[in-house]
């Protein structure tokens, strides 16, 4: 029989929280921000195939930072939930809020019950109708959810990036300005210039005629936007 030494719950939560924080702080960041046609997600990501930003449903996108295998799990679970909901009810009944709640529940359970917490932070973004229908939910490794407005940064240098965004963000940017500024902001903590091939970006464009509003910006397009 094995005996677990007694650890006070406060201490246990504190240790887990520190562990998760450390894991997330090692990784790169993702920025989500509103632009004139919807939502832009942008990240520094040298891999062109291992994505941090992806489509969940018609009007919903996902972005994750931290441990790839863990936010990939969350992404897949999100797509499964959304597709099942949309099939059982109607496509318009799939909402980012429900998804954020599901993520929150799952991460909270993992945080308290599993051996180790997930070292992830995620964003769930949604566009719906006009600009007032835009939402960004930010879910932390312990399941806490916040409803963000206009812009948010998660991951390694989140605090620094948020400071820069606060001073630079203005509502109503076009895509070019949004991408250029976001790339500058991501490089700002260590004053780097990040090239287009190390940038991953996706938009939820509410003006898109397609039912699926998510669109990945490929490298040539990003390069053109940065040059423009």
């Amino acid at each position: 029989m094995s005996f677990m030494p007694y650890v006070a719950p406060e201490q246990m939560m504190k240790d887990r929280s520190e562990y998760a924080h450390k894991g997330i702080a090692r990784g790169r960041s993702v920025i989500g921000l509103e632009y004139v046609d919807g939502l832009l997600f942008i990240a520094e990501n040298p891999s062109a195939t291992l994505h941090k930003i992806s489509e969940i449903y018609d009007q919903i996108a996902f972005a994750g930072v931290g441990k790839y295998s863990e936010f990939e799990d969350l992404r897949i679970a999100g797509i499964r939930l959304a597709d099942l909901r949309g099939f059982s009810y109607g496509r318009e009944d799939v909402k980012a809020r429900d998804l954020a709640n599901a993520y929150s529940q799952a991460l909270s359970n993992i945080f308290t019950q599993q051996m180790k917490p997930y070292e992830v932070e995620i964003l769930v973004g949604e566009v719906d109708g006009d600009a007032s229908g835009t939402a960004i939910y930010h879910v932390l490794f312990d399941g806490s959810v916040t409803d963000e407005h206009e812009f948010v940064a998660i991951g390694g240098h989140a605090e620094d990036l948020m400071d820069v965004l606060r001073s630079r963000f203005t509502a109503g940017w076009d895509l070019t300005t949004a991408v250029k500024t976001a790339v500058e902001v991501i490089g700002s903590p260590d004053s780097r210039t990040i090239e287009a091939d190390a940038i991953e970006a996706g938009v939820l464009d509410r003006t898109r005629s397609h039912r699926r509003k998510f669109r990945r910006l490929e490298e040539p397009e990003i390069a053109a936007l940065l040059a423009g």
Binding site: T49, H51, S54, E55, I56, I76, I79, R80, D83, L84, G86, F87, S88, R212
Partner: protein, 266 residues
């Protein structure tokens, strides 16, 4: 999810990108009807969609269908849609038991979208065509009781840079055509018409006209196929799939083709 089937070190190995498998696992009741036994009367009484066709043309493939559904000698619906975009680069047209067929299209569309979102890649056209065969085979017990679903599937193969056309039988048999094909109750007259009018490298306008003419011929020889109706504004629906994607042919273009064919014959 076939997670139980592909374990590695006690946990799941790989994420199954199939929506149908997910549905079977998470909501088995949604697919339970596939194992039901029904009477022949009941099978005959549900609406059946009739004639659809597909043809290869210069830019890709065109898939078209009439608008009628019948149950027995009754016209159940004269403005039914039987041609759908399956995803951005393929289209599906259905004949047979309408309710099952429409549900199959919905499942197939989701299957393709789910795969694309999960893996980050679109399925190859070959992969899509095979997946559809499996969906039809799943329906086999009901097909044997009269609820047959026989689709046509057309898509643009991005790797071969060409339009391709597949047709299926009730057992899930899958065959590829390099010219044209029709299925449903009016398929024979439609095929006779296509045989005379189709030739390689048709332009889009010609392809729409050939398709419309074949559907008109089918409607003249088959009671279950609906003809175009100018005064009720009911025209066949056609989808063109090319390198730029699957787009519905605007009604004005179909109407122009119908008018041209009718004028030639008057």
């Amino acid at each position: 999810m076939t997670d139980r089937i592909l374990p590695l070190a006690g946990s799941s190995f790989g994420a199954n990108p199939s929506f149908v498998d997910l549905l079977r696992e998470a909501r088995p009741e949604e697919l339970a009807h596939l194992r039901q036994t029904i009477s022949a009367d009941a099978a005959g009484a549900v609406p059946h969609g009739t004639t659809v066709l597909g043809l290869i043309y210069g830019d890709g493939v065109l898939v078209a269908g009439d608008r009628r559904a019948t149950s027995g000698y009754t016209i159940a619906d004269d403005s039914m849609r039987k041609v759908f975009a399956a995803d951005d680069y393929s289209a599906i047209a259905i004949a047979g038991a309408a309710g099952m067929a429409v549900e199959m299209v919905r499942l197939f569309q989701l299957e393709l979208e789910h795969y694309e979102k999960l893996t980050g890649d679109r399925l190859s056209l070959e992969g899509k065509a095979n997946r559809l065969a499996q969906l039809i085979r799943q329906n086999f017990p009901l097909a044997m009781q009269g609820l047959v679903v026989v689709p046509l599937f057309g898509g643009f193969d991005e790797r071969r840079d060409a339009g391709r056309l597949f047709y299926y039988d009730a057992t899930g048999g899958r065959w590829e055509e390099d010219d044209y094909q029709a299925t449903g109750s009016g398929s024979q007259p439609a095929k006779n018409s296509l045989k005379k009018r189709w030739r390689p490298g048709l332009s889009r306008d010609e392809a729409v006209r050939v398709a419309v003419e074949a559907l008109l011929d089918a409607s003249e020889d088959d009671v279950a196929t609906g003809g175009p109706s100018v005064y009720r504004r009911i025209f066949p629906i056609a989808l063109a799939v090319t390198a730029t994607g699957a787009d519905e042919v605007p009604e004005s273009e179909v109407e122009a083709a119908v008018t041209a064919v009718l004028e030639e014959r008057s």
